[in-house]
Amino acid sequence: MGTTDIGPPDYHTMLPGVIKKNYGKWKYHEIIRPGVLKHVSETGDVVYTVRVGSPRLVSVDFIRDICDVADKYCEGHLRFTSRYNIELMTGDIANVDKVIEAVKKLGLPVGGTGACISNIVHTQGWIHCHSAATDASGLVKSVMDELYDHFTNMKLPALLRISVACCINMCGAVHCSDLAIVGVHTKPPKVDNEKLAAVCEIPTTIRSCPTGAIRRHPDENIKSVVVREDLCMYCANCFTVCPAMPLADAMGDGVALYAGGKVSNARKPPMFSRMIVPYLPNNPPRWPEVVDIIKGVVNVYAEHARKYERMGEWIERIGWETFFRLTGIPFTEQHIDDFTHAVETYRTTTQFKW
């Protein structure tokens, strides 16, 4: 047994010189062009940051490539952002173009700043997760290919954050994103009685279901459970505690789309994303239906929102009825909440638009 609990390296050892020197002394910043930030310090020092898009799911050679660039122009330092982008920093403006050239040669986009669509926060999907109802990386690639220009320029009314989660566990801040793509199951778990008897605790399994859909198997000889399908809303909580109840289904699995969430406290308080499309079937490798709707919503938003207005702020101003009208997305009974706090979403005023 080796050393334990040493914790991560001290961040001090990782900071570039200009950052260490001006730590806590920054005065203001500018975005001098898409993907390039300039931070000016009280000391007069300046640091330029080139922000570079990454697919996140990368080989070690990818990291080495980036390290080469950083060694050449950034004194051997770099950082990653909270949305998986790579940031290459230099105190010397002359290096900025060189960095950009070098990463472009690697096939990587420069952008993700200001009123843009930055990298998509996402999750494992079919690459690694047993829970996945869709693939995350493939959706990200398909969407970003189409919205690529919005990464490299800053022409939207405000920043627009997209997230993908491959199941409703929503690893990531999907529930508060301007646009969110969420993998959903739509078939109840298929109980494997033999496996269940072997690997699951029946009381725990029964208790795991928030809607009380799971019961002991009526046949006393079968040490398993049955699911009341009409009570199941496919949350997969049972599957998490009992592997003998998989929900994955080639025909049933797909994605739902949400819109209008935000996290920042700027202007309006943080908001949850809200359902705009209850279900689209998985259509790999490029999920064209998903991509189309996302693109459509981005375009309508870009055209109608006011400057600085986030997706959710815009929708709140125009009303959801107008959102559905402008985007042409059909409103269905699935959009109407029927979970715990549903009643708080019902419109208790005569104020609405036709």
Partner: protein, 390 residues
């Protein structure tokens, strides 16, 4: 084994960098990566995941940090039959030397598939896919280069914070230091799951919340200030002269009407008692407006994803707390919260769900925290009050 991946090949096209290319790159050197490609192609064909629940795997002395994973097609893809991931705790702020990164790459090339996530969405370096046997040697090698595991399971998870004072002018707290200090203090809580469920801490240096803490952390630290924001009238004038419409874009967008604009004098004035520190005016006029100088943090609790009772946004617990190392007050609060949650929480019940179940009132009492109106948007509308029985 089938090397034909017509569906995935489609994802090599287009301008956005392709993860398929990355897997192929690793696949050239590594059999597990090659089988990962095959499994992924199969999922694209079958439209279902081919991963099964992971068993309990890990490294000596730790209860977490590894996510066990087995394929349901081991015969077809034997080199990825077991394909566990290792969560490696990142250094605060996600800054690296290339040296450190290269060392990680070397370790991972030796002991794993060579595929990674930089980063996972909690903030770890995710080393994606290795065998049960390789876990311990890989961990030892990581320790050798100064890295340790992050959290998983019913434990404290890897703590993350925004870039903060390292490269942002708005941070009113030292996010990197807070993240590092708490991480070092709570190594045991991170590595040995023993709670009802997971617990997350995130710190953002200001209300822009660039790590989305408010949505994703059970314990949310957000920088704020007690005094008035600072306005530099000369810079204000410069913005105005350059044609920036201060009235429409700043004053009219202030959520509480806290700003006044004198078009003639080109002067922007603040009613400090009306400012709710939303950051908007600061964000859009960074050269002219800055946060105040009496910095500290608003402490919030309860953010989380939808399982089981629906998603929660964090809510205000302590409107203002000074943030000075060694962060005694915050650490004590954390310990108090954990003890209480550990005692009262049901399995898989996050803090927010427990507090909702028993009532915020009771939680405040048991934490010894004084109720203040900042904790709520509005007081109760219903008359159902449990008065103390005298």
């Amino acid at each position: 084994m089938d090397e034909n991946t017509p569906l995935l090949d489609e994802l090599e096209k287009g301008p956005w960098p392709s993860y398929v290319k990355e897997i192929k790159r690793a696949a050239k050197k590594n059999k597990a990566a090659k089988d990962l490609l095959g499994i992924q192609e199969l999922s694209y064909k079958d439209k279902v995941t081919h991963w099964k629940h992971g068993g309990i795997v890990g490294v000596t002395g730790y209860g977490g940090g590894v996510i066990g994973r087995y394929s349901d097609v081991p015969e077809q893809f034997p080199n990825a039959a077991s394909f566990h991931t290792i969560r490696v705790n990142h250094p605060g702020g996600w800054f690296y030397t290339t040296k450190a990164l290269r060392q990680i790459c070397d370790v991972w090339e030796k002991f794993g598939s060579g595929m990674t996530n930089f980063h996972g969405s909690t903030g770890d370096i995710i080393l994606l896919g290795t065998t049960t046997e390789n876990l311990q040697p890989c961990f030892d090698a990581l320790a050798g280069i100064g890295f340790d595991l992050g959290g998983s399971g019913s434990a404290l998870r890897t703590i993350a914070g925004c870039v903060g004072p390292a490269r942002c002018e708005w941070s009113t707290i030292d996010t990197l230091n807070i993240v590092h200090d708490l991480t070092m203090e709570f190594q045991d809580e991170i590595h040995r799951p023993r709670w009802p469920y997971k617990f997350k801490i995130k710190a953002s240096g200001c209300p822009n919340d660039c790590v989305a803490a408010i949505a994703r952390a059970d314990f949310t630290i957000i920088g704020t200030w007690r005094d008035s924001l600072r306005i530099d009238q000369n810079s204000v004038k410069e913005y105005a002269e350059k044609g920036f419409d201060i009235h429409k874009l700043i004053v009219d967008r202030c959520p509480t009407d806290a700003l006044e604009w004198d078009e003639k004098k080109k002067e922007l004035t603040l009613k400090p008692e009306d400012c709710v520190r939303c950051m908007h005016c600061i964000n859009k006029m960074p050269k002219a407006i800055r946060p105040g100088v009496e910095g500290g943090a608003t402490i919030m609790i309860g953010g989380k994803a939808p399982i089981i009772k629906g998603a929660y946004l964090s809510w205000v617990l302590i409107p203002f707390m000074k943030m000075e190392p060694p962060y005694h007050e915050m650490k004590e609060l954390l310990r108090k919260i954990w003890d209480w949650w550990d005692e009262h929480g049901r399995t898989r019940e996050r803090l927010a769900e427990l507090v909702e179940r028993v009532g915020l009132k009771r939680f405040l009492r048991e934490m010894g925290i004084k109720p203040v109106p900042q904790m709520v948007f509005k007081p109760r509308a219903n008359p159902y009050v449990f008065f103390d029985k005298k």
